[in-house]
């Protein structure tokens, strides 16, 4: 059942159309990521959902009710922001209890809920601290607890991991997913990081220039991109000409072989890179000089040398560039 629905929502800033007839339905208990490059309108979509922006056209529907005219404080949506948004003058406990205090929850029940939330985000020991006494990861976990404490109808996450360093980011990302599953909270997650989106979402909504390009499961958008934008934006792709047609091929479906195999193309190794779990070889195709990238696991121990003549095999075509969108 759809819990939140954007129905042909259009939002303009002057001449710029940040959202064009944006239609997306978020099911109950589902985590949907809105993924796209900077300026694609993903944050605008989230702000429209939160009520911080009005929509110029279309409607926003929550549990069957049109909520477009409802002010933000009456929508019961929890939100975690990109920048640290904890109230600096309140302790962790007071921050988490803020939304409950607004709702006039009795103190005893409020304290219980806050304690449960602290337990949920594994921060029981820091309840008395102020935000400036916490690390970035802890601050975002508190922000998450604060948003979940009010038992929001929909949880909105606006790039909550982008201010964190790589290791903490993965920790908090996994924590968000685990909490979301445990609480069953319907969640809309905005990110520009595809790995983030693919790893924690039930479905991914890929956007570009205010328009939805594709909505599907992570595997679906990766393996069956429905537009050229999705093919090139999600993961890496080589653009090559095969049998007279221009196609996209994933680097992991591009194989370097010692010499001419049937269906192989000739090329010269330009560079190699070892990245730990994978290794990448960049080869210049002899036929048209295009550079292609071939990625294999580090189990493949072939030692390619720049300048070496090799064969290239494309095992699987991702998409023809002129396929209909």
């Amino acid at each position: 059942m759809s819990q939140l629905e954007f129905a042909h929502v259009t939002k303009r800033y002057g001449n710029l159309e940040a959202l064009s007839a944006f239609s997306l339905s978020v099911n109950k208990g589902e985590l949907i990521s809105i993924l796209g490059p900077s300026g694609c309108g993903k944050t605008t979509a989230l702000r429209v959902a939160a009520g911080f922006e009005s929509c110029d056209e279309g409607r926003l529907i929550m549990n069957g009710h049109i909520i477009s005219p409802v002010p933000p404080h009456k929508r019961n949506m929890g939100m975690v922001f990109q920048s640290y948004s904890l109230f600096p003058h309140l302790t962790v406990t007071e921050n988490i209890g803020f939304g409950l205090e607004v709702r006039k929850m009795p103190k005893k029940k409020r304290d219980e809920t806050v304690a449960n939330m602290l337990d949920l985000v594994r921060l029981v020991d820091v309840g008395h601290r102020y935000p400036h006494q916490l690390s970035g990861g802890q601050q975002q976990r508190v922000a998450l607890a604060r948003a979940l404490a009010i038992e929001p109808t929909v949880l909105l996450l606006d790039e909550p991991l982008s201010a964190l360093d790589a290791k903490v980011r993965i920790e908090v990302r996994d924590e968000i997913r685990s909490l979301q599953k445990r609480t069953g909270t319907t969640t809309l997650f905005v990110t520009h990081d595809q790995e983030e989106a693919l790893s924690i979402s039930d479905r991914v909504c890929v956007m570009d220039k205010g328009v939805i390009q594709q909505v599907g499961t992570p595997r679906d958008v990766y393996e069956n991109p429905s537009t050229n934008f999705v093919a090139t934006f999600i993961g890496e792709t080589n653009t090559v000409e095969l049998n007279g047609a221009e196609v996209f091929v994933r680097p992991e479906h591009t194989r370097v072989v010692f010499d001419a195999e049937p269906n192989s193309y000739r090329g010269i190794v330009r560079s190699t890179a070892f990245t730990g779990p994978t290794q990448t070889v960049i080869v210049e195709l002899s036929v048209d000089g295009r550079l292609v990238r071939a990625t294999s696991t580090n189990m493949v121990t072939d030692n390619w040398v720049p300048g070496q003549e090799v064969g290239i095999v494309f095992d699987h075509v991702l998409r023809h560039t002129n396929s209909p969108a």
Partner: protein, 273 residues
């Protein structure tokens, strides 16, 4: 490693301190030492110090009403300035950044318009239409509010600018708080430092403002002190000194309060991994 302060820095500090301290010492001696001017010298340095001058001035019948009037005007000005500027600055930052430049220019008007122009303008415009504004002492409050605009605006603007205002407001709103609740529970506590500084500066300006009060023939502390200087020059000087000390103490007190505020940057920052 701790860096030692070079000699020239001490020299600069010394010269600046002397610039402030020497006149104050001279002022103290003039105000609190009952020695005729002609006899003031090294030999009389420690003779006949007493606070009779202060007591004489303070116990004067006209001192108390003038002091209380200035204090009342100061408090009212603080209220008017904050009530006017705090919502305006917040609104500018949240919704109308394009108007910020214009607001800054307007806030500087008090520097450009001399007190005499303000007084002539106000008394000319309101004498017949709204005479209370000219006749009552409290008519000074709007004029003092204009006088406080330049620094009050800047102090509040800097305070608001140092906050991630949009995020704090949006976070509060998304958690269910109305605008007024957000203002009371989130914005005011986080701007307390800027609010206190603004209030203190506005109060200090009113307590020392002479030109406008004198031109409008109002009896405030500064106009009383100028008048008392003729009768009891030492006493008036002693009261001026007392006010200076009180202001300094108040200023230091506000500094301490600001340090104790939970979001003060001067607090120890402990970050755990």
């Amino acid at each position: 490693m701790k860096r030692s302060t070079p000699t020239w820095e001490w020299l600069v500090i010394g010269v600046i301190s002397a610039f402030f301290i020497v006149p104050m010492l001279a002022m103290s001696r003039f105000a609190l030492q009952r020695v005729p001017m002609s006899l003031l010298g090294r030999s009389t340095l420690f003779k006949r110090w007493n606070i009779k001058g202060i007591i004489n001035t303070i116990s004067d019948d006209k001192f108390r009403p003038a002091f209380l009037m200035s204090a009342r005007l100061g408090l009212l000005t603080v209220v008017v300035v904050l009530a006017l500027l705090l919502p305006t600055v917040l609104w500018l930052h949240l919704r109308a950044m394009k108007w910020k430049m214009a607001a800054e220019v307007v806030s500087l008007l008090a520097y450009v318009v001399p007190p005499i122009a303000l007084v002539v303008g106000v008394s000319g415009a309101y004498r017949n239409t709204f005479p209370w504004l000219v006749s009552s002492e409290y008519g000074l409050v709007p004029l003092y509010a204009i006088l406080c605009l330049p620094f009050a605006y800047r102090t509040l603007d800097a305070g608001v600018g140092s906050l991630d205002l949009h995020t704090l407001v949006n976070a509060s709103r998304s958690l269910g708080a109305s605008w007024t609740y957000t203002f009371r529970k989130i914005l005011v506590p986080n701007l307390l430092s800027a609010i206190l500084t603004t209030a203190f500066l506005a109060f200090a300006v009113v307590m020392g403002e002479f030109a406008i009060a004198s031109l409008l023939l109002k009896r405030t502390l500064p106009t009383y002190m100028v008048e008392a200087q003729g009768r009891e020059p030492q006493g008036a000087m002693a009261v001026a000194l007392l006010l200076l000390v009180l202001t300094t103490v108040l200023f230091m007190l506000i500094g301490r309060i600001q340090k104790r505020l939970p979001n003060s940057t001067s607090q120890e920052i402990r970050v755990s991994p």
